[in-house]
């Protein structure tokens, strides 16, 4: 997929929770957003914040082709993302994209497991899978019900199951207390593929459970996870974001961010 560098214009920038915000962007020159695969990411240049030097990698949340909008769901995690949260409609930002490999899209019944801001790439992933005829189930984990955002968007695509650490619930959803791995629907025999994005400990817990399922043993790329190691270039040249895989050091930015759990030393 051809990579490009382009200026985008902020269409809207909405605060969703204390930490999460949703940016909708469109190419500043009116061109059509480039082709990208679910699970790929963009590198955003952060202007106007002297403490920030490097671009910030942010996963593609959704590409709304009808309106030519690129959606980024971002968590405030430091100087760079804090600055991005302050941008207003009409502001410009420079983006290099699409980067990374993306999820392998296959399976009749696909489980998409997200935790925290890791739910971001799963919206586009689910949307494309649904278009391809897959039946999508979301399993989304959060500390508390109030941390779960954009549930209406996810519900348009498939069934949404939720776990919250504090046991808080959301009306109309199958909401259980605990971690995603504790949900009663997170069991063997239900899904043809599992795609995961979230905090490291959560992804490791999912991988550890799935590793015991017979379907995981039978099928390559049954369970894929998306990593977010610290990176500089996003192009596979600085070699900073490496993950120590069974096949040696791999760049999360160019060999990943999506990896088959079989390839990781987890």
């Amino acid at each position: 997929m051809k990579k490009t560098i382009a200026d985008f214009k902020v269409v809207s920038n909405t605060t969703l929770t204390e930490r999460l915000f949703l940016m909708k962007l469109t190419p500043a020159d009116g061109s059509v957003i480039a082709e990208a695969k679910p699970g790929q990411f963009v590198e955003v240049r952060v202007d106007g914040e002297p403490k920030v030097f490097l671009r910030r990698p942010i996963s593609i949340h959704r590409i709304d082709r009808e309106n030519n909008h690129l959606w980024l769901l971002v968590q405030k995690a430091g100087n760079g993302t804090n600055r991005l949260s302050e941008l207003c409609a009409g502001d410009k930002l420079n983006i290099v994209y699409p980067l990374g490999n993306g999820y392998l899209l296959e399976g009749r019944r696909v489980l998409l497991v997200g935790g925290g801001v890791g739910i971001a790439p799963l919206l586009e992933t689910g949307a494309v899978l649904k278009q391809m005829g897959s039946e999508v189930t979301y399993l989304l984990g959060a500390r508390s019900a109030k941390d779960l955002v954009e549930l209406d968007e996810y519900r348009k695509i498939g069934e949404v199951l939720v776990t919250t650490e504090d046991g808080s619930v959301i009306d109309g959803l199958d909401c259980q207390k605990g971690f995603v791995t504790n949900h009663t629907s997170f069991t063997s025999g239900r899904y043809d593929a599992v795609r995961v994005c979230g905090p490291g400990p959560m992804m490791k817990a999912v991988a550890k459970t799935v590793a015991l399922w017979p379907e995981q043993k039978e099928k390559s790329h049954y369970c894929e996870v998306s990593l977010e190691n610290k990176m500089a270039c996003g192009l596979g040249v600085c070699l900073c974001c490496v993950e120590d895989t069974k096949d040696g050091h791999k760049c999360v930015c160019s060999d990943g961010p999506v990896f088959d759990i079989n390839d990781l030393k987890w």
């Binding site: 990579k3 030097f53 500089a232 120590d244």
Partner: protein, 303 residues
């Protein structure tokens, strides 16, 4: 439009803009963004005789206007480069330069001998900033004697021009430059990264797996300018300047201090089109200042 052609050690470069080793992969990673043939040349990632896994993650710390890396020369070795990478690079209409590193003199010499066979590689850049494992880990480039020894041995083994890349982490970079010039270097490139460190106050731990690393980016430019100026006043061989060049103005400053060509490094991470913008910017500057040839600004600093 001024003449941008530059000659270093008999090698013609269509313009003075090269890329720094370790920041440009094998060039092909940038093909979506720029026409590689527009570059004066590109220097491929640091290559050692034997494959290296590099250091453990984390390898990166962001600093104000810069970054510190601890990659540790991860590469697949000289033979892999010859068999798998070189065939993909040999048809570019630009100078493709190999950056060679080693941890003992013998490895440098063997690596250089192997690279002799590559017709389309016009020269090598010798990275002498690495520790010499046989000399207690002391960097080759930190002592005039060690630098002289490795350069003179590689000089005998390698048939084509030799650019020696210098570290700024020394008491007198001019002394090192004089030593490598005496040992037969055709050119020097400087500066390599600046030894640095980052600490996480909350965890009370170092950010990098190796504790210390090499700093690059805009923040190191003043150090690079000082080094280039000192070396320009110490040696006769041409200088390739690098360190913190983010735009054409930075490149011009480096050339005014004495660099005949420049390398763009960390800027490639921020803007993959930085190199071609710098070429255009140098051209625009020369026109604006009524220069007919880029050589007119090399060392033209009015002191």
């Amino acid at each position: 439009m001024a003449n941008l052609k530059t000659t270093i050690a008999g090698i013609e470069f269509k313009n003075p803009v090269l890329t720094a080793s370790g920041t440009f992969g094998y060039g092909v990673e940038f093909e979506d963004f720029i026409d590689l043939n527009r570059l004066g040349g590109f220097i491929v990632k640091g290559t050692t005789l034997h494959p290296r896994q590099g250091n453990a993650y984390p390898r990166l710390a962001e600093t104000p206007s810069g970054m510190i890396n601890a990659v540790g020369l991860q590469n697949k070795g000289v033979q892999y480069f010859i068999d798998h990478i070189y065939p993909r690079l040999k048809d570019y209409d630009t100078n493709v330069i190999v950056n060679l590193s080693g941890s003992c003199v013998e490895d440098y010499v063997t690596g250089a001998e192997m690279l002799n066979s590559l017709d389309k590689i016009p020269c090598i850049e010798l990275n002498i900033s690495c520790p010499n494992v046989k000399a207690g880990g002391m960097g080759f480039g930190t002592q005039p004697k060690l630098a002289e020894e490795v350069v003179s041995k590689v000089r005998k083994a390698y048939k084509k021009p030799l650019i020696v890349k210098l570290t700024p982490n020394v008491t007198s970079i001019a002394d090192i430059a004089r030593a490598v010039e005496a040992a037969g270097a055709d050119s020097v490139s400087l500066i390599n990264t600046v030894l640095a460190m980052a600490v996480n106050a909350e965890t009370q731990r170092p950010v990098l797996s190796t504790v210390t690393g090499g700093m690059s980016g805009a923040a190191v430019k003043p150090i690079a300018l000082r080094c280039v100026w000192q070396v320009y006043n110490a040696v006769q061989i041409p200088i390739v300047g690098l360190g913190g060049i983010m735009n054409a103005t930075d490149a011009i400053e480096m050339m005014l201090c004495g660099a005949r060509a420049i390398e763009v490094g960390t800027a490639n991470f921020i803007d993959p089109t930085a190199t071609v913008q710098i070429i255009d910017g140098i051209n625009e500057y020369l026109d604006r200042h009524g220069c007919k040839d880029v050589s007119e600004i090399v060392g033209a600093l009015k002191v």
